[in-house]
Assembly symmetry: C2
Homo-oligomer: 306 residues x 2
């Protein structure tokens, strides 16, 4: 098994994708404690929150406070980003110290409409507004349903490339390929990643792979084999998708870090410290953790044997 990658980077999205899917509001100080723990474990890239109407997502109504608290201590030492739906949200993120925002567009128009009630043209227009309105802000675009759509089935790389062409024409050079409902297979992930990197050599790609069917790490492996080295993960496997009932969340940060650390592919993350944070998440967040490492007591057991 030839893997040229010596190092991969996880982008922790639990504080946004995870926390917004928890029904109860997690107190700001708990959010901050968890995020700081993640940073102290060695995670350098984090999607801290979302700047969106508190009426739409009350769980993240404290986005400004969370960002200020984290950036005050770690600003300049981490890559902090936030999800925003529009220029207004991006402006609020900027005011809170954020210099990279993520904006979601689904590859399938059907999912884009259901998810954010926009056509592709409307989404592209909003991205253009952000790029023009906030020249200092880096705008990353998350391509949702890049592998499969709950409304239309499998999504072909041609469709992803066609949308990516329009997005990159706006000046975007950072794209996330998301298996939003977690049904993609390793061969599809590999083919898409190879194709996109070939078609867009100046774009940096990351993968966002849900673990719905247990293929999260198999798909991650396929991504690494295709040359991808950055992956979005969520502590505890928190997160989900309203259009994928019963779906497990994102591939858990601790599951992915465990795999790469044990393979000798550097993540920069200390597993002991990360598992302590997972414990805090388990205590403070009112949601079941879908991660394997959170459940398995094998870690301690096997560590002692070595």
């Amino acid at each position: 098994m030839e893997l040229t990658a010596k190092r991969i980077e996880v982008t922790e999205v639990g504080p946004r994708d995870g926390f917004q899917n928890v029904k109860t509001f997690i107190p700001t100080q708990d959010k901050v404690e968890i995020i700081k723990g993640l940073i102290e474990s060695g995670i350098k890239s984090l999607e801290l929150t979302s700047f969106v109407s508190p009426k739409a997502i009350p769980q993240l109504a404290d986005s400004t406070a969370v960002c200020q608290s984290i950036l005050e201590q770690y600003g300049g030492r981490i890559k902090a980003s936030a999800l925003v739906p529009n220029l207004k949200g991006a402006q609020a993120a900027w005011d809170a110290g954020i210099r990279e925002v993520a904006c979601v567009v689904s590859v399938t128009p059907e999912h884009n409409k259901a998810n954010i009630n926009r056509t592709h043209d409307e989404s592209l227009a909003e991205i253009a507004k952000m790029v023009e309105g906030l020249p200092g802000m880096k705008v990353r675009v998350d391509l949702a349903t890049a592998l499969a759509c709950p409304f239309t089935g499998w999504v072909l790389p041609d469709a992803v490339a066609a949308l990516a062409k329009k997005v990159t024409a706006l000046g975007i050079n950072k794209l996330v390929l998301a298996d939003t409902i977690g049904v993609a297979t390793p061969d599809r992930v590999h083919a898409l990643a190879v194709r996109m990197q070939r078609d867009f050599p100046d774009v940096s790609f990351s993968l966002h792979l849900h673990d719905t069917r247990g293929m999260g790490l198999a798909n991650t492996l396929a991504g690494v084999m295709a040359g991808i080295t950055t992956f979005e993960t969520s502590v505890g496997g928190l997160g989900g998708c309203p259009f994928a009932p019963g779906a497990a969340g994102n591939t858990a940060t601790e599951d992915m870090v465990s795999m790469f650390n044990e393979m000798g592919i550097e993540t920069g993350v200390d597993m002991e410290k990360l598992l302590q944070v997972v414990g805090v998440v388990g205590n403070k967040v009112d949601a079941p953790l879908s991660s394997h490492m959170a459940k398995a007591k094998i870690y301690d057991c096997f560590q002692r044997a070595r």
Copy 2:
């Protein structure tokens, strides 16, 4: 992603490895119903039970009745096997109509001692007795802790090859490489599979991969890339390891079948029928199911979209 395999075979071990790890005795008729369901879903190879002292494993005290019931209806159309600890068990299996038995030896002497209280020499002597005592019986050997041991840490391919050399010298040509505690990584699985097939070209190998750390399907993918086409799985992900506290069970049959079916690699298994059996297992077996497909309602949802 170059995968030359067009077809893989799952060997269902839930009726042995799974049922023996359930605390309560599953009534014989429920066992038989589940096994028949698995066969009707398309599974052709099954480890039906274990012929072992009912004092040691009361859960499988009905091994003869289970085998007779299944073989009466499906004998000749399936590859039925049973786990046995010794010649006496193999004889009982033979009397129940079984023509292939599996015998476990751990690669690490420490685990062999803890698991079955034998030295390697004692295990090899017992295998020799079976081969000589029952010439018509095919004897398969499961090499436990072939990748990692809860007592000694990582296990190197050299150690696996050294034990396999002694085992094959007894006339055995079917070996299972087991990641007993489920901590192996894809690179290690790949390296071991490549090495063993090269060193033992006349032996057929299968993999038995636990999903403790969520790498079950990633390791399966690595196995397929190394040329392995048979995998032991357990319906519902039932099973476990007494030496791996908190460990999830085997990689679930339905998770693996889902991945391969969606990749266009033939398993011969009908997913709809298999998920019905998973439902029966969920109702009749008093144990949590660790499989992803058992939890995710995404299957129906995504099927409708296609």
